[in-house]
Symmetry: C2
Subunit: 95 residues, 2 copies
Amino acid sequence: MTETLEDLRKRIDKIDLELLELLNKRGEIVEEIGKIKEAQGTNHYDPVREQELLEVVKKNNQGPFSTPALQHLFKQIFKASLDLQKVETKKVLLV
Amino acid sequence: MTETLEDLRKRIDKIDLELLELLNKRGEIVEEIGKIKEAQGTNHYDPVREQELLEVVKKNNQGPFSTPALQHLFKQIFKASLDLQKVETKKVLLV
């Protein structure tokens, strides 16, 4: 049976909640990484690591999104994650 | 035991693969929705629906990402999804 617009939208809603949960789980891990980097005194931004992650996206993409479209989205996720580390660092500096 | 940078990065890699899979699954559903809208002759961009989805993000966000940061990411996902429908429409028009 063909799914209705309503059915498809319910599936999107479910996926969006999963995406939300995964993104926040990613954020938590990134905060942990930020603390380690802080302690080590190393730079938060790591272009080599970012490039590796973008390669993983390219290698594992089965569509329908194009690899450039997905890499663009992941770059936004990396940027938001880096901003999260900056907020955490600021908190540390304020106390 | 505290996790090492290596352990944390492995967890990020796993999450990124899950994100990739979920995004493409979302893309497939969005393409289905695009076909229905095409058949109905309705507009692909639906600002009311988009606003509803952003409210869902706000309501269900448990952090550490801020709601504006997540809403920004989701807007990028919506935009990429809309672009995907446009590509599909173009394909239909070309055959």
